[in-house]
């Protein structure tokens, strides 16, 4: 089983990184790779890198069985594309994990969608991961309005 952890580029998200390192210790059968951002932590039980390139990012998405991440829009869009199940923990502004609480808003919007498990504390991590294993990712979000946006932008550019 392969788990890909990603916390984005903006700020560290040590709460999730620590929790996943502890999870990896308990689940030595799992292969865990974590993109951890600029952090002073040195996870002992999983492979990690501060940042990875977009192509490495896509490679990890393609290879993994489940993605564990912050509630980042890039992660949501990429998980939809690769049909991978997602476990997401929103960053909290009061813990200085983000400058505002927009990840909470996004999390609320995503709740209940197929292929995605939103958790609000790291204590829920193990259960969410075990439920995600083997489940379908599915296309999480699709509004069918991209064509309209593209037409508007193309028209604006040409005028």
């Amino acid at each position: 089983m392969k788990v890909f952890v990603t916390v984005g580029s903006m700020l560290p998200f040590d709460r999730l990184v620590c929790a996943m390192d502890a999870w990896a210790k308990e689940h030595s059968e799992a292969e865990v790779f974590a993109q951890v951002g600029e952090t002073s932590l040195c996870p002992a039980n999983m492979e990690y890198s501060a940042m990875i390139s977009p192509s490495e990012y896509r490679d990890h998405f393609a290879a993994c069985d489940v993605v564990v991440s912050h509630v980042g829009m890039g992660t949501i869009i990429t998980a939809s594309e690769f049909c991978k199940p997602l476990v997401m923990l929103p960053r909290r502004a009061e813990l200085k994990e983000l400058t505002n609480n927009h990840q909470f808003e996004t999390a609320k919007w995503l709740e209940g969608r197929p292929g995605i498990r939103i958790i609000y504390s790291d204590g829920e991590l193990a259960e969410a991961i075990s439920k995600s294993i083997g489940s379908d990712g599915g296309s999480i979000v699709e509004t069918g309005t991209r064509g309209k946006l593209i037409n508007t932008l193309r028209q604006f550019i040409s005028n």
């Binding site: 984005g8 580029s9 903006m10 700020l11 940042m51 390139s53 977009p54 192509s55 980042g72 829009m73 890039g74 992660t75 869009i77 990429t78 939809s80 400058t99 505002n100 927009h102 990840q103 808003e105 996004t106 919007w109 979000v141 699709e142 509004t143 309005t145 991209r146 064509g147 309209k148 946006l149 593209i150 508007t152 932008l153 193309r154 604006f156 550019i157 040409s158």
Partner: protein, 149 residues
């Protein structure tokens, strides 16, 4: 054919811009991002990396502004399009002064209200877009024209 400058911070902002890539077909586009490692995603198009700007990295604003001005003078874009974040706001602010037409596309991650940069972009965006119908306002708000998803 128009000269376009597409500005997006690393992460979700960039991913959203990539979903709109086809709008650049037939035009001459250069990209600006906050991370050098995204260069290969848009090769062989021209690409510039500038430091990220936010309330958390105040010191890098001067460097970002200097680099952006250099890029704008060199590229002389007709149109500047950004999906955010703060560096995109700086880009449309300066490019508007230099005579370019500007587009702000607020991130789809801003669901309950426009992002702070998105609200400030009102003054500098010729086309001011939210990706959520409930945040659009025909009187004094941004327009909704669909979303990247």
């Amino acid at each position: 054919m128009k000269k376009i400058l597409a500005v997006a911070s690393a992460g979700g902002h960039w991913t959203e811009m990539m979903l709109l890539k086809e709008i650049f077909d037939g035009h001459d586009v250069a990209f600006v991002c906050t991370m050098e490692m995204y260069r290969s995603e848009v090769a062989p198009n021209r690409f510039y990396a500038i430091p990220g700007v936010s309330r958390l990295y105040k010191r890098s604003i001067a460097v970002s502004v200097a680099k952006l001005l250099f890029i704008l003078v060199r590229e002389k874009p007709d149109v500047v399009i950004t999906t955010g974040s703060a560096p995109g706001l700086l880009a449309i602010f300066f490019s508007k002064m230099l005579g370019a037409r500007t587009v702000w596309i607020d991130s789809i991650a801003s669901i309950e209200q426009l992002s702070l940069s998105g609200r400030m972009a009102k003054k500098f965006a010729d086309l001011w877009i939210t990706q959520w119908p409930h945040l659009a306002d025909p009187v004094d708000g941004p327009t909704y024209q669909g979303s990247v998803l």
